[in-house]
């Protein structure tokens, strides 16, 4: 089985998000980066599928040069090789543009499975996997909790809303978008980190894939949301703040 896992590098969760002077993106100097968390779960599922079925796990990642670090992390955890679609410019392409890049790069690989996280923690379009499936003509399922391979098909458990679930069977090849938390994530071993250095990373410049990175949706301005609700904030020493809060809950909200 050939299993592709598509991962994205995103600003780390505890990064301070400062909008740049043009209001177009963030001050990148402030940011540290990590693998998008749902993609980390997709990688884990891919590695476990390979352990069950044999074959190889290929990491697919579109991003600037710094994304190489996230690719190495995936290789250190056990992926076999990687494809890095690299762009030079500062870009935040929309889901269709990203999926077009991914589709063009992955087509020659003829994979059986493509796994990716259900959404990214930065732009959060939550669409790249579904769009990729449509572009490649693959079946897909989203928000997947369990993956049960069945020969040339797969049965998955999907999460619906309000605590409902559903099993769905699909023919291969297939794109699955993986929900966070479905398996426990592994750590890279020292041996894994060492081995990763010798694994193949094929770099494809985005410009060679014939997709205009700046097409599609335009974010005209990004900004901190303005508060519409008047929240009473208690600052100062924790003890004092706690005292003020309890007073309010008791005499104003009358809830304790």
């Amino acid at each position: 089985m050939k299993i592709i896992v598509s991962v994205k590098q995103v600003p780390a969760r505890d990064s301070s998000l400062r909008v740049d002077a043009q209001g177009k993106w963030l001050e990148e100097a402030d940011l540290t980066y990590e693998m998008n968390e749902p993609d980390a779960y997709a990688l884990e599922e891919a590695l476990q599928l390979k352990e069950k079925l044999g074959g190889e796990v290929v990491v697919l990642c579109a991003g600037p040069q710094r994304a190489a670090q996230t690719i190495r992390e995936a290789l250190a955890k056990g992926a076999d090789r990687a494809i890095h679609i690299e762009w030079e410019e500062r870009a935040a392409p929309d889901a269709l543009t990203t999926a077009q890049l991914l589709a063009n790069a992955v087509k020659p690989e003829s994979p059986d499975f493509i796994l990716t996280g259900l959404q990214s923690d930065d732009l959060g379009y939550g669409q790249t996997g579904v769009v990729l499936a449509e572009l490649l003509g693959f079946a897909h399922a989203t928000i997947v909790m369990e993956v049960e391979p069945q020969g040339d098909a797969v049965r998955v458990k999907r999460e619906l809303e309000d605590g409902w679930f559903q099993h769905v069977s699909l023919p291969l090849p297939v794109v699955l978008t993986i929900q966070s938390g479905i398996k426990k994530l592994r750590y890279a071993t020292l041996m894994g980190i060492k081995k990763a250095k010798t694994k193949e990373v094929k770099t494809i410049p985005a410009s060679q894939l014939g997709i205009d990175l700046n097409s599609g949706l335009v974010m005209e301005r990004i900004y901190l949301p303005t508060r519409s609700k008047k929240t009473q904030i208690f600052s100062g020493e924790p003890k004092q703040a706690a005292h003020q809060l309890v007073e309010k809950l008791k005499f104003e909200a009358r809830v304790i």
Partner: protein, 324 residues
Amino acid sequence: MSVLVVLEQRGGKWNRTSFEALAAGQKIGQALATPVTAAVLGSNIDSLATEAAAFDIQKVFAIDDAALEQYTPDGYAAALEQLIQASTPKVVVFPHTYQVRDYAPKLATRFRKSLVSDVVDLKTVSGGLSYVRQLFQGKLNADIPAEGDLQFVSIQAGAFRAAEPASATNPIEQFRVKLDPSAIRSKPEAPYREAQRSVDLGAAPVIVSVGRGIKEKENLPVVEALANALGAELAASRPICDNGWLPMERQVGSSGQTVSPKVYFAVGISGAIQHLVGMKGSKTVVAINKDENAPIFETADYGIVGDLFEVVPALVEEIQKTKA
């Protein structure tokens, strides 16, 4: 030219967020000075179509086909593709549900468009319309100009007040689609709920909910002490349950329970939308978070910006003093 709102039903029951999407669609229609239509898909949906026709819209498209009895992305995308080709709307609006997330990007791709997902507001700036969507789990907003001859937009739950029926009887057009059942690749089984929940957070008057800010399972007693002092149920945001630190049945949010207690304490929870939809109905919300820009403070009535490991014990002490 029109705005087409796709309403969602399952097993003959509306997904109520459909009417929030309809309200957003009506606002978009006003901004673009264009009529609003609605679509309902399924099998044997006459009564739903009649209900939809009571809203303030131009007409309802009823797509009634045996192949749409159960939701599949192939079936829904094919049916709506045909409706869009025939009715040529300018904007197609969906509620941002799990189902929409499953097929709307596929549908938009057929027209080589990107879905503007998770829209929370509309803005009219110098005559032009922009969609406002969230980035970074609600920490930032982005304005996306409504451009192009065909736009796809999904509306976040809770962002618009649901439209009310206008007791009209607008026309219903039975829209026939050609669906090849053999082209529907996924075979869905019946949806189910996991074993009965032993904890019903929906009935709890006071809830203390904990998020990533707790850092480690070993730190849970810090918030347990607060729950005990308040006589509250302990709950959590998704990552805590994903890690197995608390059982899944204590999860509040779109994939967990929906709660509406008198007081909801959000401790170390940043307030991603998936969490907020589960607790928005709370009467009073108290947030404790070290990040003053955390979106939870938008929903909170009272907030303390600070280190929960200092604030929570101080709070426990104050509550015990009050109760003594």
